[in-house]
């Protein structure tokens, strides 16, 4: 029992953090900062997972968070390798300068 804190509070915080992550992807043009915003979105969803696990008394929700963190670690390794590869060929990680597919 957590007196005063309800699932609605957790979900609102999770939604606000997710929205801030989305905003970061939309307004920043530094690829690394965009990537960090994606991590923020993953964390917001983890928070909702843990909240629901607590609210329903189901430990499976926490195991899912564990898997999400493992996938995030793999994603960061590959994503940062891609950013390094893009920087080598462009000398920039500004996403507005990597627009060859734009036509």
């Amino acid at each position: 029992m957590i007196p005063g804190v309800s699932m609605t509070h957790i979900l609102i915080l999770s939604g606000v953090l997710f929205t801030l992550g989305t905003l970061g992807v939309l307004i920043r043009r530094n690829a690394i900062v965009m990537f960090m915003s994606i991590e923020l979105m993953l964390n917001a969803s983890n928070l909702a997972f843990v909240g629901f696990a607590r609210s329903m008394g189901a430990l499976s929700g926490q195991v899912f968070v564990f898997f999400v963190i493992a996938v995030a670690a793999a994603e960061v390794a590959v994503g940062l390798a891609l950013i390094v590869a893009v920087y080598r060929s462009r000398s920039s990680i500004d996403v507005d300068r990597v627009s060859d597919l734009k036509g």
């Binding site: 007196p3 979900l11 606000v16 939309l26 690394i32 430990l59 926490q62 960061v76 940062l80 500004d94």
Partner: protein, 170 residues
């Protein structure tokens, strides 16, 4: 206001404030350090929600390993301050409007939780979220997903090495 709610409010304020600071700071190193603050605040929230093991994993893997990797790459490339002027003048306004729509949807969902799930948290069993409980579940019910995760990490490792390899022969 209960102690728990005060803790929740202060953690939420820290997390949201650091997220906004991450978005607006021009230097990517500052952004990364603000993200570390957010990750720590969320780890403490996990503790509040009786997820002790996940909170430790969060601190060790996210705030430890992943953010160090981010800082390494930022400093390796020396790209702290690269940011051109927006190529579309309406980009910022559009992003704000879209985010506003998204947050309205989240609030509607959060306020309309069915049944009892939106209410206060009930009691949980002793040791809920402990390493022993998670480990038992992980190695019995979720054994195959756990093994697939190891395959995924191997693939990511090979992929990262292949992508960043110097090709001297060309």
């Amino acid at each position: 206001m209960t102690v728990e709610f005060a803790i929740f409010l202060s953690l939420a304020a820290v997390a949201v404030g650091a997220s906004i600071a991450m978005l607006v700071s021009r230097n990517a190193v500052y952004s990364a350090l603000f993200l570390v603050i957010v990750l720590f605040a969320i780890a403490v929230l996990f503790l509040l929600l009786s997820a002790a093991f996940i909170a430790m994993v969060q601190v060790a893997i996210y705030a430890g390993a992943i953010m160090v990797l981010f800082l390494f790459v930022i400093m390796l490339l020396g790209t702290e301050n690269v940011e051109s002027e927006p190529s579309h003048p309406w980009q910022f306004a559009t992003a704000l409007v879209l985010s506003f729509g998204l947050i309205i949807q989240f609030l509607i969902v959060a306020n309309g939780l069915p049944g009892e799930s939106g209410g206060d948290f009930g009691e949980v069993a002793e040791g809920f979220g402990s390493p022993a409980g998670i480990g038992t579940l992980l190695f019995e019910e979720y054994l195959i997903p756990f093994e697939v995760t190891s395959l995924l990490l191997l693939a990511a490792m090979v992929g990262a090495i292949v992508l960043t390899r110097w090709e001297r022969s060309k």
